[in-house]
Point group: C2
C-alpha cells in the first residue's frame, strides 16, 4: 500500500494506492472520523462488482452503509439526478452522522463530490475510483461538477475529498477501451511533467494494457504524485500552475462537443487533443518533429486514435463557446517544448490552430 499526501494547507488528505486493498478500507477511514453512516453513490454495474467488498470493509469498522445507484451514463451528471439523490440522502440522514462515498468512475465521482459540496453547506466525502481515468485524474483534486444541457461541468465547486482510495485490482474489470481511455491521461502526466514516466510506459505498454498489478500501481502512484503536487500549489486554478493539467484538453473538449459526446470517449479525445497541441507547438517552432513522433508512436501503440473520424471539422472549430480558452480572440493553449516541459501560450494565430486540427483528419 502506497500513500501520496495531497498537502493542502486547510484540508490535506491522502491518496492510498495498492492492489487488492479494499479489505483495508475501514482501517484507513477509521482514523478520519468521517461519520457513522456511509452513503455510497455508485452505478449498478460497479455495485454488483465491488459493492459487497466495500460494504464488508465498512461494516467491519462499525460503519453502516446505504447504496444509491445512478445510471452508468454521463446523463447522471445532471441537476435533475443531483436533486433526486439529494432528496434520498436527506430522507436517509435522520439522526445520523453521514458521509458520502463516490464509488465508480468520473461520472459518479463528479456527481457525488458535487452532492457532498452542497448538502448542508458541505459534508465529508471520499473517493473510491474504479477506473484508470478516475484513479489518475478525476478523483484527485476536488473538482466536482454536473452538466447543463448547454455544456459539460458548468455547475460545480472545488471541494476536496477526505481520502482517495485507489485499488488497482478494480482496474481488472475494465474493458480494453476503458483502459486505453485512462492511458490518455497517464500519457499526459508523462508529457507535461515526467520523462521517466513516459519512458516507463513506452517500455511497459503491453503489461499496462494487460493491467499488470505492479505496472498499474506504479503509474497510478506516479500520476497521483504529479497531480497532488500541482493541486497542492494551486488548488483553485488561480496561479496558472494547475492549468498545465489541461494539456490536450482544450482541443479535446471541442472535439467531444462537436461529436455530441458520442463516438469518442474522453481519453480518446484527449489523445487527439494532445496531438493537436503537439502540432501547434511544432508550428510555433517550440517542439521538434522527433519528439512529436515519439508521442504519436506511444499513442498508437496503446491503441488510441491519432486521426479524427466521424466528427465534422467545421463543428469542432465552431464548437465550445463556453470554453474561452479555445479559438476566441484571446485563446490560450498549454503547449510543450519537449517531454516534461510545458509552456502556456496565448493569442495563437487561428490558422495555426486550424491547421493543427486539420492535420488530424
Amino acid at each position: 500500500m502506497r500513500k501520496v499526501r495531497l498537502g493542502l494547507k486547510k484540508c490535506p488528505y491522502d491518496i492510498i494506492i495498492g492492489s487488492n486493498i479494499i479489505n483495508r478500507l475501514g482501517r484507513v477511514t477509521d482514523k478520519l472520523n468521517l461519520g457513522s453512516d456511509a452513503f455510497i453513490i455508485t452505478n449498478p454495474l460497479i455495485k454488483r462488482k465491488f459493492g459487497k467488498a466495500v460494504k464488508k470493509a465498512f461494516i467491519k469498522s462499525g460503519v453502516r452503509v446505504k447504496f444509491r445507484t445512478v445510471p452508468d451514463t454521463e446523463k447522471s451528471k445532471s441537476v435533475a439526478t443531483a436533486a433526486l439523490v439529494l432528496t434520498d440522502l436527506c430522507a436517509y440522514d435522520i439522526k445520523k452522522k453521514i458521509f458520502i462515498v463516490a464509488l465508480g468512475g468520473g461520472v459518479v465521482g463528479d456527481l457525488a463530490g458535487f452532492i457532498a459540496s452542497v448538502y448542508k453547506r458541505g459534508v465529508p466525502y471520499i473517493q473510491i475510483p474504479t477506473t484508470l481515468l478516475a484513479q489518475v485524474d478525476s478523483a484527485i483534486g476536488g473538482k466536482t461538477a454536473v452538466d447543463l444541457k448547454e455544456g459539460k461541468n458548468l455547475i460545480g465547486a472545488i471541494y476536496q475529498p477526505k481520502l482517495v482510495f485507489s485499488d488497482v485490482a478494480f482496474l481488472r474489470s475494465l474493458d480494453l477501451r476503458q483502459t486505453r481511455a485512462g492511458l490518455g491521461e497517464v500519457f499526459k502526466y508523462g508529457i507535461i511533467k515526467d520523462p521517466e514516466l513516459f519512458a516507463f510506459i513506452e517500455r511497459n505498454c503491453g503489461k499496462i494494457l494487460r493491467r499488470d498489478s505492479r505496472a498499474m500501481e506504479h503509474i497510478v502512484t506516479r500520476c497521483s504524485e504529479i497531480k497532488a503536487a500541482i493541486v497542492s500549489r494551486d488548488e483553485k486554478e488561480e496561479k496558472g500552475l494547475r492549468t498545465i493539467l489541461n494539456f490536450g484538453h482544450t482541443a479535446a473538449h471541442a472535439i467531444e462537443a462537436a461529436s455530441g459526446y458520442k463516438k469518442l470517449n474522453h481519453g480518446e479525445a484527449v489523445a487527439l487533443g494532445m496531438l493537436v497541441a503537439c502540432g501547434i507547438s511544432r508550428r510555433l517552432r517550440l517542439l521538434d518533429g522527433k519528439t512529436e513522433e515519439r508521442i504519436e508512436g506511444l499513442i498508437k501503440a496503446a491503441g488510441l486514435p491519432t486521426q479524427i473520424r466521424g466528427v465534422n471539422l467545421d463543428r469542432i472549430i465552431s464548437a465550445h463557446y463556453h470554453d474561452k480558452k479555445f479559438l476566441g480572440a484571446k485563446n490560450r493553449f498549454v503547449l510543450i517544448t519537449g517531454i516534461g516541459k510545458t509552456r502556456i501560450t496565448r493569442n495563437i494565430p487561428l490558422k495555426i490552430i486550424k491547421d493543427s486540427i486539420k492535420e488530424r483528419f
Copy 2:
C-alpha cells in the same frame, strides 16, 4: 455613505450603507473589476420598484444588464428554480464576462448566491439587499442556500459576495410587517453583542418603525459591523464564534417548521425564539427576570409577537429532525446572561426547553 469592511483573509469585501445611494453603485463596482455584464436576479415587484435605478447606475459605468425575475416566494429557493435560472444564465453568458447581482430580500439573496457559487465553479456576485432583514443579516456573510422539500437551506455553500450595497432608502418600500420582521434580527444583535444598540432601539423605536433615514442608517451600520466582525473571525462556523448569531434561531426554526412556514414570518419566529431562549436562560439561573422583561417589552413595542398562536405545541417539539441543535439528546442553545452577553450551553434538560416553549402559549 458609510463603509464596513468584512476582513476575511482570502476574500475581504465592503459593506456600503447609505440613504439614496443607488446612483453611486457603478462607481463602487467599477473598482472591483467584476465583469462587463450584470446578471441581476430579482423578483417582479422589486424590479418594478428599483430595477430602473439599478440599471441606470450600471449602464453609467459601461456595464450591460440582464434581469432574471423569480416569483416572490420561498418556493423560489428550490433546486428546480436554481436549475432554470442557471440554464438562462448559461444561454446569456456567451462571450461575456458576467457577474451575478442579488437584488431583493433573503430569498433572492440566498438563491442568487447559490447560483453564483455553483456556476462554472464560482463566479463573482454582489448583494443589493432591499429588506431590513437582508441588509442587517442574510446578505452579509456568504451563507447561500436553496431548500429541499425535507427542510430549508439543506443545499448550499458558504460563498462570499464581492460587495454588499445597502441603500436604506429602499426600506421605505417595505410594509410595516416586513419592517418588524427585520427588527427581530436587529434586536438579536443588540441582545447578543451591544447594549448601546439595544438602548438606541428602545429610545428610537417609533422613528425606526417609520423608517427614518438616519435611524435606519445607524442600525444597519451597527448590525453590519457586528456581523462582519463575527464572520471575519469564523467564516465557516467552525470555531463556534458564528454560533451566537443563532440566538433565538433554534426555537424559531422549530416554530417555523411546525407552522409549515405559514402564519409567522422569519423575524416573528425569531422574536418568539429569543423569548424562548430567555426563558431557558432564566430557568438555568443565568438571566434575571428584569432583563427578560426589558427584552419582552421592546419586542412588544415593535409590534412583534410574544405569544405563539395558531401553531401546535406538540408539532414544535417534534419538529425539525434536521436541526441537531434542537431537542436531541445533545441539544445546544445560545443563551444569555445579560444584554450583550452570550453563553453557549449544551445538553439542557428537555423539560426546561419544553416549559420555556409552553410559557409562550
